[in-house]
Symmetry: C2
Subunit: 125 residues, 2 copies
């Protein structure tokens, strides 16, 4: 049971829920800097929360060059699906700013990869 409790414990933090909501919404990999820009939270804070989500078996990573992309691990059992349903049952209003920011950030992707060097936050907000 510990495996599941670890996952559940991970859901008890606002930042981690916000990260998960982004990944659920966009339904693809996001790199750390994209998550940072979307949530406007320090990189090392995001990094540490992602690490926990990874340790709990909720996220997987894949490095491509300088970037590390994270995405949800979707298992066969109903558990993953129910986690997603649970998060999706939270009021959208809590996440609207995050999603807006994420879409803005993702629109700057040139290929299917993170838009290098474009995370200078002054130009088009």
């Amino acid at each position: 049971m510990n495996e599941y409790i670890k996952k559940l414990k991970c859901l008890g933090d606002e930042t981690r829920i916000r990260i998960l909501k982004l990944l659920i919404t966009v339904n693809k990999e996001l790199c750390v800097c994209e998550i940072v820009d979307s949530l406007k939270i320090q990189t090392y804070t995001i990094s540490k929360h992602i690490k926990e989500l990874k340790n709990a078996g909720i996220l997987k990573e894949s490095r491509r060059g300088k970037f590390i992309f994270y995405s949800l691990i979707l298992n066969e059992d109903n558990f993953s699906e129910n986690v997603i349903n649970l998060i999706n049952s939270l009021p959208d209003a809590y996440f609207s700013d995050d999603i807006l920011m994420m879409n803005k950030r993702l629109s700057r992707r040139e290929t299917d990869s993170c838009a290098t060097g474009l995370s200078d936050k002054g130009d088009d907000k």
Copy 2:
């Protein structure tokens, strides 16, 4: 969002999940001593976990005489339902002993001291 995060945080503990699983399974009120007997965990430990579940708005209490009965709060939103689905998607094996004990304990409701509060359980709200 804090209200929901508090609830999610509550789900990150094995004892609390086991308590919730009992309540979901039996689908009625349980008194503290019945939960204690089912899970074989100290009364004060159960009491404290129940207190957190209550503070998070997951459980409600109703005192009848010496006994305090607890049951799930079911809200209109999908959240409650999804919490239940999530807990129900955990492997039954983790809870089989608990459920067995609970059924054993509940079958004594008519004869046991704890059953005094239960003889009039027809008015369950």
